[in-house]
Amino acid sequence: MIDSGKNKNSKIQRKHKRCQAILSRDANVECVSHPTKFIAICNAGLSTGLQKETILEEALKYGRVIDIVMLPNKSYCFINCYNEDDAKNIFDNMHGHAKLGQNETIIYLSYIKEIPEAPNQYNQDLPEGLIIINDFVSADEERILLEAIRMSEEPLENNLLKHRRVKHFGYEFLYGINNVDPEKPLEENIPVECDALWKRLEDKVPDRLALVPDQLTVNIYEPGQGIPPHVDTHSAFLDPIYSLSLESDIVMEFRRSNNNHVPVVLPRRSLLIMSGESRYAWTHGITPRHMDVIPSKEGGGLTIHHRTRRTSFTFRKLRRNRCDCAYPELCDTYAAEQKSNEDKLASVAAKLEEENVHKVYDEIANHFSETRYKPWPKVENFIKSFECGSVVMDVGCGNGKYLSVNPNIIEIGCDRSEGLLQVCSQRKCHVFQCNCLNLPFRDNSVNGCISIAVIHHLATEARRLQAIAEMARVLVSNGRCLIYVWAKNQEFNCEKSSYLHRNRNNRMQNTKSVSNENTQSLSSKSELVDLPVHMNRTQFQEQDVFVPWKLKSSGPKSIETTTEDGGVKKEFLRYYHVFEEGELAQLCARIESIEVECAYYDQGNWCVIFRKK
């Protein structure tokens, strides 16, 4: 018996030691033998399924806690105690006893010198536009409102969603399409008991935040229930949206993209106003669980709140129109219009390239050529890297500025524009005319390919992919290809591209970001498709755009404007698809016969070098 006890003890010690070693190695946390107010739980954390509220509930039995620090994907976590006495009591009662880990394993604790820095989630700023008005309704009003919705008269199965009960007034929210039908109002309007709220709201918030809603959704959450993160459909409802919390406090989680997570406590009888960014760009949701970790009311630190039933009144006003918000990432109107633009582009792609790429380059060939004489150094280096006797093809060679960079190789150029090819021909370069979607070259025949500022003129992803696949086809095994396309972001790594630098306004204020105002007018001047016209020398706002080329001479197919000095300027619109970061490399990755060797950003372009297997 004594022996086995000893064994057990030494086993615990061994395990404990191992965990401490991981802590010091992984988190750079120093374990100490004397009590401090900081405790590490060495063998349980987010990665073992431990939840903050579970650990807090246990620790609070023995002492006061300021914060629980849990790091993503870690099998340990930390307790920041109120003082050393609290820590000592927690340690003595939990170390080697409490069963909190996965499968109820016994947890091991250590005192540590310091807790690695992690922001207290409740110390963050609220999402922009989020307002909470505490005690918006009195306890009496709460009771009256709950009676007004007559939820108890409803048969349960009528309004039981998967995770909560719900009832609509004014208009039904249709979960299948995430929208309302403005043509089909419900018989039951928002209860008159709510009317007093809107006058009250007017007195408390600026006018633009005081709407009189025409739609109400009531949700009833039992403990353990929640609602997945979502944004209220932009096109369905106006800004702002109101949510009245009744019967229980709750924590609502706000998230924006992957990195921003702000838990917000919604106290019982408070009114939440989601406006602006918080209404359009953040999702909100309620995690299904029985308790929430919340800031404690006295003495700072955290405490556990056991949920009871919560009833929320979400008041909204129908938009009855497209959404025109400035937050495209979660906007259904924006997504639908993007999709319809893409479909439209696909249907006119060949025609668009003909009218707004090929014809334009033929018109501006000479002027264009005069402005394109200096090779980019990295492209030049790539061409010079081929050994003597190599054959390199320049797909979209333009005026041929890269065709005579390396005298030890044969460079053969091709382009769609006859005008530009004539410039090349005068320079005694090897050229022929073709479309980059169909290269009239033998399979496996050339040692290298370059395609500089070409495939951003193709109007669909399928066509851009085909152009890359064609280059892959004509390369010999181990042959290499360099592609440059214009980047949507002209300020990568906080450096403006030379394209932006050539804008006089930008030169004056090098460090300031380029203003988004007035950079785009929404006139397309094309009969084929509505695309924004890009303002030269500014950041791109969209991926598919028309970029003007201004020519100071006459010619057909252009827009005439009179310049300040009285001369006549012609403006041609070139179609561009400017690339997002990673987009070009991802396209290349879809072609099995090639391997991307490197991808980089160079002077406002995304660039890829790939090798044929």
Binding site: N408, S425, F432, C434, F441
Partner: protein, 124 residues
């Protein structure tokens, strides 16, 4: 169009065409231009070309004398041959003429020295 370019061109992109090579070359007008001869360059370039088509082109421009039907192993040591091949591939410029797909008969015109290999959308 120099004959080096001709060596690579095909009509394979036409729908239904299997090989599309070599294209039939018809010359209306040609010019001879002088370029610097670099024997190492020609030596290294030759293995990358389709040699039977080089020979066929040589016959077409009446320069096949002394150019073998097949490239021997020691061609690199044959300065005369390298010089001739340099001339054929890089110094004869086809100014006007046409290329013809061997399978469909589709004509690709050569004007002002530039072959027009464009295909209509309905041909690909």
């Amino acid at each position: 169009m120099k004959l080096i370019t001709y060596n690579f061109l095909t009509s394979k992109c036409i729908r239904g065409v299997k090989v599309g090579y070599p294209l039939k070359l018809k010359i209306v007008q040609k010019e001879v231009v002088q370029t610097d001869f670099n024997p190492e360059f020609i030596t290294r370039l030759l293995p990358r070309l389709d040699y039977p088509t080089v020979h066929m082109a040589a016959e077409l421009v009446d320069c096949a004398e002394g150019v073998p039907k097949e490239l021997g192993e020691n061609y690199a040591a044959d300065q005369d041959l390298l010089q001739k091949l340099h001339h054929i591939l890089l110094e004869i410029d086809i100014i006007e003429g046409q290329l013809e797909c061997p399978e469909t008969g589709r004509i690709f015109p050569i004007t002002q020295g530039i072959p027009n290999m464009l295909l209509n959308e309905d041909e690909v």
